[in-house]
């Protein structure tokens, strides 16, 4: 019987608590008598005190218990079992309840095996490394499945879900115009304003136009758009598909003979790939307009002069560098969202977890690839 120290909880005044008396009966037998109502609402304190008893008890008397429920019956039965004490004075109800709870004799909880911290840490590390490896392997497999689905749609164009794709294009593209435009406009303001402050030191304030125009078109417009699309649409893909997995909608699709790859994943991937360049270009324009607005106020470059200068100082290949990256980023975000959605298996918590993973992995991969693109384009002479 476990013994442990305890502090007695002061019971609220309203409740009548169960209690016990301890006495030495005739012939030296010790008797514990439970008193008061033995209900789940009243036994919390009694349980601790009974557990702390150290003397041997021969008999447990229930005749002074005014009421009993299964929790009370369990306490009484467990006590008499642990002490090999005889149960007496049980009412009909108490006997019935004790009979019911005594079927469940197992308080032998399956004890988890405890391992040392070294084993746990290295096990955790190994599991995560293997998990990352398998994850990478599986996501490439998933990308392959998407390609196969695209290929089979080329062969059977009748199965292509144009309507679903247009709907997704609206969700991914049209509905995010406002937020992406505003964000880029503000980013443009920040770049031009901060750039102007630094360039003024060299008397080269006019280079603010070069800075804003080139960085918007080449890098920031697309990158910020990708982050926003990952947050808005990548997460939505994961959550939608994950919930559909939970409610067995995806299984239902399969049994009907609809491929979830073709019906759900391909429209989303294509929508993201088509919308990303458009959104990215739109974002670049908004950033340039933002830069032009702040320049008009802060540096004194008139708005239209700023825009005219942009045409002169920004080479066309900056535009292409941005636009070529956009569909790739769209693909990464959509695949990351759909893949994580498809990985949901058991419960609603996993939907949340997978949604987070979709966004984090999507943004991370976008930034990694962006670094590769930057090096690549300057190496091939599009610097």
């Amino acid at each position: 019987m476990p013994r442990r120290s305890f502090s007695r909880i002061t019971p609220p005044a309203m409740r009548e608590w169960a209690d016990f008396t301890f006495e030495n009966g005739d012939k030296g037998a010790t008797v514990v008598a439970l008193t008061g109502p033995l209900r789940i609402s009243t036994i919390g304190d009694l349980d601790r005190r009974l557990e702390a008893l150290e003397d041997k008890v021969d008999r447990l008397d229930l005749s002074q218990a005014t009421d009993i429920d299964t929790a009370g019956a369990w306490i009484a039965w467990r006590f008499s079992r642990d002490w090999q004490a005889e149960l007496t004075g049980a009412s009909d109800k108490a006997q019935r309840l004790i009979a019911a709870v005594s079927q469940a004799r197992g308080d032998d909880e399956a004890e988890a095996e405890h391992e040392g911290p070294l084993v746990i840490t290295s096990g955790w590390l190994g599991k995560n490394i293997l998990g990352a490896w398998h994850g990478a392997y599986k996501i490439i497999g998933f990308l392959g499945e998407v390609m196969i689905a695209l290929g089979s749609l080329l062969v059977h164009p009748g199965r292509f879900r144009a309507k679903a794709m247009v709907h997704q294009m609206e969700l991914v593209g049209v509905n995010s115009l406002g937020i992406i435009g505003l964000m880029s406009f503000l980013v443009g303001i920040v770049i031009a304003q901060q750039g102007a402050v630094q360039l003024r030191e060299f008397g080269a304030e006019m280079l603010t136009i070069n800075l804003t125009g080139r960085i918007s078109l080449r890098e920031l417009g697309i990158l910020m758009t990708a982050i926003m699309v990952a947050g808005r649409s990548g997460s939505a893909f994961a959550a939608q598909i994950g919930t559909m997995k939970l409610t067995e909608e995806i299984d239902a699709m399969r049994t009907i003979g609809v491929s979830p790859m073709e019906a759900l994943v391909v429209p989303r991937v294509l929508a993201a790939m088509l919308m990303m360049p458009l959104l990215g270009f739109f974002a670049s324009l908004c950033a340039i307009i933002g830069g032009a607005v702040i320049s008009a106020f802060q540096i004194g470059i008139p708005f239209f002069i700023f825009l005219t200068r942009i045409q002169e100082v920004v080479p066309l290949h900056d535009f292409w560098v941005g636009i070529i990256k956009a569909p790739v980023f769209g693909l990464i975000i959509a695949v990351s969202g759909c893949y994580n959605g498809m990985q949901v298996k058991s419960n609603s918590e996993e939907v949340g977890l997978r949604t987070t993973m979709a966004v984090v992995a999507g943004i991370f991969m976008v930034i990694v690839l962006d670094a590769f693109f930057a090096v690549f384009f300057s190496e091939v002479g599009l610097g």
Partner: protein
């Protein structure tokens, strides 16, 4: 209202009105649930059986009328004090079990214990959860499983175990046998009736299952025409000539359930006779043989 009445009737509903938008679900509905009975609630789809239950347990605010649970008026919403008084005294089994999917069965059962009686030690809480698992007819190792690892029938039992966590006086069951195989449904019925007897529960049972009605319900309330059109034992209901009731109980499924119930009763009754008269049977082998014959022909 006298206190005696609230003592005898844990649930008293008077003049209840419920609706969504323009659609009226209940109009002037009245019903009393007696202490210690299993009340079956039947009605066609869309007659508002679940809405009625949700109104009683405070998940749906009615448009009008009075619902008294243990003498507390709940139709005007359940305030904090009432919630503390009433909620531990009832348990609810939702249709799909409604187990918390991120918790094991044991942790699911511990949720109400933690909520209402935080003074109970972790040890005892775990023990209570595990004997509830056992009482609900689940194997003991089910306590450590997650809901998605359980079959439909086991989920219902786990949901029942959670509903019984606080030893409630009042148990709400929303279609407990829906989606179970006939054997599973029959054992669930038996379990409900055993628990009702052992724990002295009052059970409010929504069902479509005619077998359940015949097997365990003390009384049946029939919902139709936005009201409870009749409450009574099945023979009492059969005596009424409301078309829906007649069709319900005398339709092909109703008859099948009734006859299977009669068969079950006969099969149970005959061995008792044989047991009661062992001497006679021994003394008169012919009678015993005749009894056996009659049993065969009876079945």
């Amino acid at each position: 209202m006298s206190t005696d009445e609230t003592g005898d009737y844990p649930i008293i509903i008077e003049g209840l009105c419920n609706g969504f938008g323009d659609q009226l679900i209940h109009e002037n509905l009245s019903l009393k649930v007696r202490r210690g009975e299993i009340l079956g609630v039947v009605g066609g789809s869309g007659t508002g059986k679940s809405v009625l239950m949700r109104s009683i347990i405070g998940l749906q605010q009615p448009r009008g009328g009075s619902i008294k649970v243990f003498g507390n008026e709940v139709a005007d919403g359940i305030d904090a004090q009432e919630s503390k008084d009433i909620r531990p005294r009832w348990g609810v089994l939702f249709q799909g079990g409604a187990l918390f999917s991120t918790l094991t069965v044991e942790e699911n059962i511990e949720v109400p214990l933690r909520q209402f009686y935080p003074e109970i030690s972790d040890n005892l809480r775990g023990e209570i959860a595990r004997f509830k698992v056992k009482i609900s007819g689940l194997p003991e190792d089910a306590a450590f499983k997650y809901p998605n690892e359980l079959s439909g029938g086991m989920k219902k039992r786990a949901g029942l175990a959670r509903a019984l966590a606080l030893d409630p006086e009042l148990l709400f069951l929303d279609e407990p046998t829906a989606g179970l195989d006939p054997i599973g449904a029959a054992t669930f019925d038996q379990l409900t009736s055993e628990l009702q007897e052992t724990l002295g529960l009052t059970v409010f049972l929504i069902t479509h299952d005619l077998d359940t009605l015949y097997a365990i319900c003390d009384r049946v309330a029939v919902l139709a025409d936005k009201q409870v059109i009749a409450v009574g034992t099945i023979p009492e209901l059969l005596a009424l000539d409301h078309p829906w009731i007649q069709e319900y109980f005398n339709g092909p499924r109703g008859r099948a359930a009734q006859s299977s119930q009669d068969r079950g009763r006969k099969a149970k009754a005959q061995p008792d006779v044989a047991k009661a008269l062992p001497d006679v049977a021994k003394a008169l082998p012919g009678v015993a043989k005749a009894m056996d014959n009659s049993r065969e022909s009876g079945a």
